[in-house]
């Protein structure tokens, strides 16, 4: 799939996703700003496996920034693409706090998982792929590992209130 085709599809998906979180016209703007950033700053990134995560990350930061600004009495109506720094977790104190809170919630939640889920998550955090996890856990097929992971992810998500980020529901 060509880069242009990937970006076109990404735009459609980002607009729809952003529209479910913010106003429709602003969602269009968010998608446009994501594409501009990919075009200007990450024009060397062409592969699908890199473009999609990058677009998702930019879109998320964009939406979070819009929320923060709207919470400051609508002082800002749009976010400058130039304000988004990738990756720069330390640049934004608010982002840093949100990550810290999320990590605390995660820490409490994972402790409540069952043995299998804890072991599965441990292997994932250690960088093992599903094939390696299948061997380590003695699963008969990799589909079994997919199923285990899907259920464990759902269980962890439920333990965290249905969303990874606090205050989204």
């Amino acid at each position: 799939m060509e880069r242009e085709q990937i970006l076109l599809k990404l735009r459609e998906r980002i607009v729809a996703f952003a529209a479910s979180h913010i106003q429709g016209d602003i969602a269009e703007d968010v998608a446009q700003e994501v594409l501009i950033l990919l075009h200007e700053k990450y024009h060397r990134v062409e592969r699908l496996e890199e473009l999609v995560p990058l677009a998702l990350q930019i879109a998320r930061f964009k939406i979070m920034s819009l929320r923060r600004k709207s919470q400051r009495h609508g002082e800002y109506t749009q976010v400058s693409v130039a304000d988004i720094q990738l990756p720069d977790p330390e640049a934004n104190p608010a982002e840093l706090v949100e990550r810290k809170l999320m990590l605390e919630r995660l820490t409490q939640a994972v402790a409540q998982l069952g043995d299998r889920c804890r072991e599965l998550l441990r292997l994932k955090l250690q960088g093992k792929n599903f094939g390696e996890i299948q061997k380590r856990m003695g699963a008969q097929s990799i589909n079994t590992v997919y199923t285990w992971d899907y259920r464990c992810r759902q269980q962890l998500l439920d333990l965290m209130g249905g969303d990874w980020e606090a205050g989204k529901r």
């Binding site: 998906r13 820490t107 856990m137």
Partner: protein
């Protein structure tokens, strides 16, 4: 991959667990599936957190010590079965178990059958002396009953001494006393075919000439039986079978069971079945030592006769009653003592012991 399978890859996005192929499949599907794209976008928050190495280490620490899941432990435990030697050993043990189980299964019914037979024997009363061998008990019991136990196995007794020569029958006739000495009319009057024909015969005693008399001890029936069976046959015409009858509470005489001990006050009779037509004389030894005639009568072959025909032998004190059963093909008109002394070859001595 199906849509459902691709959705299961979502969990690998945040932790960057997906392989290149899995990642391509997930992203390509997300580009055309808004729901999947939204889910993927929500995972981005977690992915951002887990990009931090320190955050990963914190979560790994929160997960606690590593512990193999059950499936992995079970799989590793069963892993030894994949080895040929272990597999052969397991197969051998399984074969032994199956073989042992089959052996137990085959032997168990036989052991159970022995118990059933034993029960049948216990419940079955010991066959009386007069119990007919021709009675037909249930097949299972009959089979066991006809398997003589060691105690009943007739063992050949010591060879009996050669009996002295008997005076010939004409001698008996020649010495016949007056008719008054043997009240034959009484004996004839006592002729009474047994109403229980066929039920009283238990054993056939032969009285071959010459033959010494022998005692029948009711208290020791087995020894008597052994001795009786050891007797040589002397031809059907001289065979006499008898059975001891004991008067019951209902007043009827019934064959006494083997091992029966006669007590004071019991009434005993003899049921006689001659092997030939002739005359039967029953003598009793008195306290003075002389023989007296109890009853004498004409008998037919294979008929049953109860002696004495009136009442029975009884004693009011512990005592032994000696009887002499004499068979003659012809009528004897001699005194009882003379009959006893002259007809020993054709007589059978019976001792009843009342305790």
């Amino acid at each position: 991959m199906s849509r459902e399978e691709i959705q299961k890859l979502l969990g690998g996005y945040a932790t960057d667990t997906l392989s290149a192929a899995e990642r391509s499949a997930l992203f390509e599907a997300a580009l055309v599936d808004q729901e999947l794209f939204d889910a993927l976008a929500k995972e981005q928050a977690l992915r951002d957190v887990l990009q931090d190495v320190s955050a990963r280490e914190q979560l790994i620490a929160a997960l606690g010590p590593a512990r193999d899941p059950f499936a992995a432990r079970a799989w590793r435990w069963l892993g030894w079965l994949h080895r040929p030697a272990a597999l052969a050993m397991a197969g051998g043990m399984l074969a032994v178990l199956i073989g042992g189980g089959l052996a137990l299964w085959r032997t168990r019914p036989f052991a159970h059958r022995e118990v059933l037979v034993a029960d049948a024997l216990v419940r079955q009363p010991a066959p009386p002396l007069a119990a007919p061998l021709s009675t037909a008990p249930p097949r299972s019991v009959q089979r066991k009953l006809f398997r003589p136990p060691p105690a009943r196995e007739p063992a050949p007794s010591a060879p009996l001494p050669t009996p002295p020569s008997l005076p010939a029958a004409p001698t008996l006739i020649a010495t016949r006393p007056a008719a008054a000495a043997l009240p034959l009319p009484r004996a004839v009057a006592g002729f009474a075919p047994a109403g229980t024909a066929g039920s009283g015969r238990q054993m056939i005693r032969t009285m071959p000439p010459p033959m010494p008399s022998f005692d029948v001890q009711i208290g020791a029936p087995m020894a008597s039986l052994k001795k009786a069976k050891a007797l040589p046959s002397a031809g059907a015409s001289l065979a006499v079978g008898y059975t001891l009858l004991l008067k019951g509470a209902d007043g009827a005489y019934a064959p006494a069971l083997a091992g029966t001990v006669f007590h004071v006050g019991d009434s005993v009779r003899l049921r006689v079945e001659p092997g030939a037509a002739g005359y039967i004389y029953l003598l009793r030894r008195e306290e003075t030592g002389v023989w007296s005639l109890v009853e004498g009568q004409h008998v037919e072959k294979a008929q049953h006769y109860e002696l004495p025909s009136i009442d029975g032998f009884r004693s009011d004190v512990p005592a032994q009653v000696e009887l002499l059963l004499v068979f003659s093909p012809v009528e004897q008109n001699v005194a009882a003592d003379a009959l006893a002394s002259s007809a020993s070859a054709r007589s059978l001595k019976i001792t009843l012991e009342f305790r």
